[in-house]
Symmetry: C2
């Protein structure tokens, strides 16, 4: 089953919302409610969920727990992901301390920095190495995923070191630096200043509707 | 001229890349090069740029400086945006210290937190108030944009305070908490744990190609 990127993005958001509704003790939820809470059209919600075989009952909605379990099953991975992070500044630290990042599915195996005060220390329980050791440590620890939180100017050299480990498969890029990778390596970019610029552009031209 | 959201996102990325190429002294760039550096197809680059009247010369490409100025003009806003930020934790601090955020187009007018050690202090030169003062301070300082970096549980109450200021027009949400706003308020969400989940989903099913 092939799923397009925007659908996956919405699935991740349905998942997060349903977990919250479950915690709050809600038993049913309508497509209208889901749409309103996430900023999607109800028709989009129905279309997405029916694609995965979930049909809400008219006038009742979806069973929160069942729908949540179903989406977890679609998103979930049988394996534990071994993750490395390069650049342990404010953003890197924010992520390491974020509960959503410390799930049993994710194992932070190694941190990398060039700051000698960080190298050799444990940060939130994870060892920090000198960035020059990226190839060896990533290979030893089989970290397929790199979270890249280094300054823009270090992005390419850091990614090149990770590629040379031979185990890298995906990069979550939180840096504003651009870099090139071979086709077989997946990159997801998060560029917060660019998102702000986008918001301001929408505000400038109110006739452009996001989504 | 109406521009769809994905196009705006790419424009922001073209802008960033062209600024870098200009700084590095490049005079021309081809659609192939732009595509490779940003991970888009060259045909997409040509289509986007021709929509704005930019036609590259076959075998030569685009004039970096002219193209950059043109995109700046499309993206730029005649006004200076007055910005408030709520939640001055690691993420908030990371943004305040990020150079891309300290542009002449953006004026950080107010910070808000509930931590008494932060309230009353200046953080990166911006005053921090108690979150309960959001309505008054935002109204006084006419901050149309709120960067929301509070814990998930505080998202809705914090946004409600900002809405009650009467001046709020847009929210950049960096929190995992969901919240509801009236239709006329624009929201752009950045959810880093969700982006990681998306990357892992792609890695699990390599036949799904992002983009």
């Amino acid at each position: 089953m092939k799923i397009a990127e925007p659908t996956i993005e919405r699935l991740v958001q349905y998942h997060r919302l349903l977990e919250r509704l479950r915690e709050e003790g809600h038993r049913v939820v309508s497509s209208q409610q889901i749409g309103e809470l996430l900023g999607f059209k109800a028709s989009q919600v129905r279309k997405d969920l029916s694609y995965f075989g979930e049909i809400g009952k008219r006038g009742v909605g979806y069973h929160v727990e069942r729908l949540c379990d179903h989406i977890v099953q679609i998103l979930s991975s049988p394996k534990i992901w071994r993750i490395a992070m390069a650049g342990i500044g404010n953003i890197g630290t924010a992520l390491l301390s974020n509960q959503s990042f410390r799930s049993p599915k994710l194992r932070f195996e190694a941190l990398f920095d060039i700051d000698t005060r960080k190298i050799g220390s444990e940060i939130f329980g994870v060892h920090c190495w000198d960035a020059s050791e990226i190839p060896v440590v990533m290979a030893e620890r089989k970290t397929e995923v790199l979270i890249l939180a280094v300054p823009a100017r270090a992005a390419q050299s850091c990614v090149d070191l990770a590629i040379s480990s031979g185990v890298l498969r995906g990069v979550l890029a939180l840096t504003q630096g651009s870099f090139v990778v071979p086709d077989e390596i997946l990159v997801v970019r998060v560029d917060i200043p660019a998102e702000l610029e986008k918001l301001l552009f929408f505000l400038k031209q109110p006739e452009v509707i996001p989504g």
